[in-house]
């Protein structure tokens, strides 16, 4: 038997500036990485230039800023795009970044026909969990459809859409929900393409064959193997029965993977390495359900941004699996296993039933509220199980005794610090670029883009023209915002309750907390009212949603407005709503910019008596700075006991009220 080819090995990376990221990519390729995975910063993902007010503090934080073709050229300088396999995690602005990539290739003298790679381009999971959406569902699906019909004809080796179940699991989805909602997203996308009428039957089958998936792999790796086998079988059946694709090759379930970050812990972070290894096994052991590409998180992700060495350790896991072990040498080792088959069937049946439920509701867009509520409910259940000890997390709720760690002593020396000067450099380069370009060409290109958006013509040719003309990410997005409008996704927390089904110690603790919250209303004169806010562009709303749900179930009145709020909006809400406490959640690393802005705003409104607590991935040095600036408490992933956090928040509110 011929040895199987290894999957494409990548590391999700990018930070500070295009130049800094380019150096990192070239280093990663020298270390044996076989593909690139570009992380863009939040302004780029949400369609703002680096000098936009909403971008303040976010530039270069969770990825690389790309404002124009100059940045894109710098990002891939010295990297021949004709021989590179590039994955770009980009969604609302995917058509634009793909246009910049194609234009950059053209400038390198590379024919777009040979380009290989992937644009994530899956807006539905952005509404449900990741948060970097811009436009309403209908025009968003149209943009996705445009990229598919364009690449099938002009960039045939490109994967235009990577339908993501990854972020659904990060948001708490069970394996069944992960498969079901991803399939529903794929259906919404393919239905849109089919209805567009741009492709012949043959071309449409090709387009189906170009759809790939981006999945998650958790620590229950046997179940994950079964999940992926079920996923592949369902995709094969769906593409055959719903879309009439006859060529089995075009029905093949092709997926890339990033293993689970949700389960990585801040406590005893070295335990994350075995977790990552086992999760990687889940997507490589079964030949029939093996991933095409893999990226692994780093052991210290729950502490902050990983350094190049941390990412290297994760790349080495992949290389050891592929080159030292014998997993690539066998046919599928699970074929014929009754146990695996039964579990696979069970997942398959349940997933398909959930697909049918969503289709009955009118499809994934009509069912957004329903799906979001199901995800928040699943995550709430997960948090409850960890809190009650039913779900063991080693080093967190069991076996917490530890010898002193030589790897991590609690300071911030083990994470990457983004150079604060990077934002200034980036903005300076943006201004120079704008000054040097031919303004007349920009105006004409943007007018053509608007025409295409309005008329329904494919957005890609106009976008590629914009890329060459020197249009910026903010200008491209703003033009489409004006035509398509903007969207606000459901928060999903309305129908979810912790109390439902909660028994034992958690229920008792919650009841005690409720009694206390009721008593405090007498001291305050009215029920305890809190504002849970998500400032900045970060869309990871798990934490904020959980805190909001638990606060409500503890008897508080909770104002929650969803993601992407400016400091000024948060201050305005706190003022108008008369809240007793403000809780902020930030996971993008921009806490040192956003939190002080909110504190200053509160002071300006005469509201500095309202205490502020902050939760997020916040290194201890930063936490100290925040407390010094006036923040009452800082909570990080190691604070996993919800009742304790809530009780602490009540302490803070009570102490503040006593000072009035």
């Amino acid at each position: 038997m011929k040895k199987d080819v290894p999957w494409v090995m990548r590391t999700y990376s990018g930070h500070s500036t295009a130049q800094a990221s380019n150096e990192l990519y070239r280093l990663n390729l020298r270390k044996g990485q076989t593909g690139l995975s570009v992380a863009f910063d939040l302004p780029t993902q949400t369609g703002y230039d680096s000098d936009h007010p909403l971008a303040r503090g976010e530039v270069g934080k969770v990825g690389v800023p790309v404002c124009h073709i100059g940045d894109m050229e710098m990002l891939f300088a010295g990297i021949p795009l004709g021989q590179t396999n590039t994955s770009m995690t980009i969604n609302a602005t995917a058509a634009w970044l793909l246009a910049l990539y194609i234009a950059t290739a053209e400038r390198q003298g590379v024919d777009p026909k040979v380009l290989q790679g992937t644009t994530q381009n899956d807006i539905l999971k952005e509404y449900l969990s990741r948060g970097t959406y811009i436009f309403p569902p209908e025009p968003s699906l149209r943009l996705i459809s445009d990229t598919i019909t364009y690449t099938v004809a002009h960039v045939p080796k490109w994967n235009p859409v990577n339908v993501c179940s990854y972020h659904l699991q990060e948001a708490g989805a069970t394996p069944v929900q992960e498969i079901a909602y991803a399939l529903c997203s794929a259906i919404a996308i393919l239905d849109t393409v089919r209805t567009s009428g741009r492709l012949s039957a043959g071309e449409f089958a090709e387009a189906v064959g170009r759809i790939s998936f981006f999945v998650n792999s958790g620590i229950r790796f046997i179940e994950e193997i079964c999940k992926l086998r079920a996923f592949g079988q369902l995709w094969d059946e769906l593409t055959r029965d719903r879309y009439g694709v006859t060529d089995p090759k075009l029905r093949r379930f092709r997926y890339g993977v990033q293993v689970n970050s949700l389960g990585l812990t801040e406590a005893q972070p070295e335990n994350n390495i075995p977790r990552i290894v086992l999760e990687a096994l889940g997507v490589t052991l079964s030949k029939n359900a093996r991933c095409r590409a893999m990226q692994l998180p780093a052991w210290n992700e729950a502490l902050g941004l990983p350094r190049p060495w941390d990412q290297q350790w994760s790349l080495r896991i992949q290389q050891i699996l592929a080159y030292e072990t014998d997993i690539l040498e066998y046919d599928d080792i699970f074929d014929g296993s009754r146990v695996i088959e039964e579990k696979t069937d069970e997942i398959k049946r349940a997933a398909w039933a959930e697909v049918e439920r969503v289709m009955e509701l009118g499809g994934v867009i009509a069912a957004l509220d329903y799906i979001k509520e199901r995800l928040v409910a699943s995550h709430t259940e997960r948090v409850r199980r960890i809190n009650s000890g039913e779900q063991v997390v080693v080093g967190v709720n069991k076996f917490t005794e530890t010898a002193p760690s030589p790897l991590y002593t609690g300071d911030s020396s083990v994470i990457l610090k983004v150079d604060e000067a990077a934002e200034r450099d980036q903005i300076a380069r943006l201004h120079a670029f704008r000054a040097a370009r031919n303004q007349a060409e920009v105006t004409v290109a943007l007018a053509a883009l608007r025409d295409a958006a309005v008329s329904g013509a494919n957005i890609m040719p106009a976008s590629i023209r914009c890329a060459h003309a020197g249009v910026t990410t903010g200008e491209w997005s703003q033009t489409l915002r004006e035509v398509f409008g903007e969207f606000r996704a459901p928060t999903g927390i309305g129908g979810v309750a912790v109390a439902r089904g909660a028994e034992g110690p958690i229920a008792a603790q919650l009841e005690a907390l409720r009694a206390r919250v009721r008593r405090i209303a007498d001291t305050l004169g009215r029920p305890l009212k809190v504002l849970i806010g998500k400032p900045g562009l970060d869309g990871h709303s798990n934490g904020a949603e959980q805190i909001a749900v638990w606060c409500r179930d503890a008897g508080m009145e909770v104002v929650y407005e969803g993601i992407r709020l400016t400091p000024e909006q948060i201050v305005t809400s706190a003022r108008d709503e008369g809240v007793h406490l403000i809780g902020l959640s930030i996971l993008s690393g921009s806490h040192l910019r956003l939190v002080p802005a909110i504190l200053a705003g509160l002071k300006g409104e005469g509201l500095d008596h309202i205490p502020v607590v902050v939760g997020g991935i916040i290194p201890e040095d930063d936490a100290e700075q925040l407390r010094h600036a006036g923040v009452a408490r800082v909570y990080t992933p190691k604070d996993f006991e919800m009742v304790r956090i809530l009780s602490d928040m009540v302490d803070v509110a009570e102490a503040a009220a006593a000072h009035l």
């Binding site: 409500r552 503890a554 508080m556 909006q569 305005t572 008369g578």
Partner: protein, 324 residues
Amino acid sequence: MTARRYPLEISSLLRFERQAIAAAVNLLEDRRPEYQEQARTLLDNLAPLPALAHVVGITGPPGVGKSSLISRLIALALQTGKRLGVVAVDPSSKVSGGALLGDRGRMHVPPRAPIFVRSFAARDRLGGLSREAFSAVFLLRHLCDVVLVETVGVGQSETDIAHVADTVVLVVQPFSGDLLQFIKAGVMEVPDILVVNKADDAALARKAVAEVTAALSLERQSWARPVLAVSATTNLHIDALDAAIAAHYHDLRTANVLDARRAKQMTEWAVSEVRYELGRVGLAALGGSAGVQALWTHQPGAWGALRRLAAVLSRVEYRVAGEM
């Protein structure tokens, strides 16, 4: 704890200083006796001032898009430079007593525009208006040009909104089966304007409008109640809704029914507060509904007097308890 005086001046409120408005609403919500007294004084000081705002109630079942609709109406009103107040009510959990106040997140509220948005938990009033929300609307009526009040309609609580609103808008969505529920509950008598939201599909919208119109024909009213098909998502026919709301207000004023409606609302509110503070016996002692109406129309400082009466009564109760 001594009563800390809220930094409250009527002039700040009338200048639409939102810090002051927020403080006034906090005060009206405060159940501690010493603050209740300040709150009643505030109401007495406001009483002689004109209440110029058009109060528009927006009600309907959960998920029909009331907040998104309000967001569109906010944008229109702000364009014309109006001062806006918004009171949004969400249900409270029966189990925990807590509430998620999420309507604000679906409204676009520019921080620097003249708009004040306050969310309330319905507390013990199902989807309707709590005491606190009631008094907030009565406060904002003196300070704004338009006050929008959003309540969750669950079949009965729609009637709450008629106690504060000049114009009641009932929002439904196509083929939700809610209408039958409303007709049964007698709710269809309440709204002045009916809106079918999410009416992007013209054919479906026409059918839904016909269904609502048929339901309306079962009732009789002087004002020919319009039924409008709109879409908050795509901004379809929102201007028509805005015009219908304005037309109803105009009609109320030219037909000279606005003052009577408001006088009735005022009496209802005062009666319910008297009952809250003094109970059934206290209400009877004041001459029942007619007596309360006379007092609140002709006697300045009625709110303060009520509070003082309640304070006296609470001491009496204490003494009685001591004798037993």
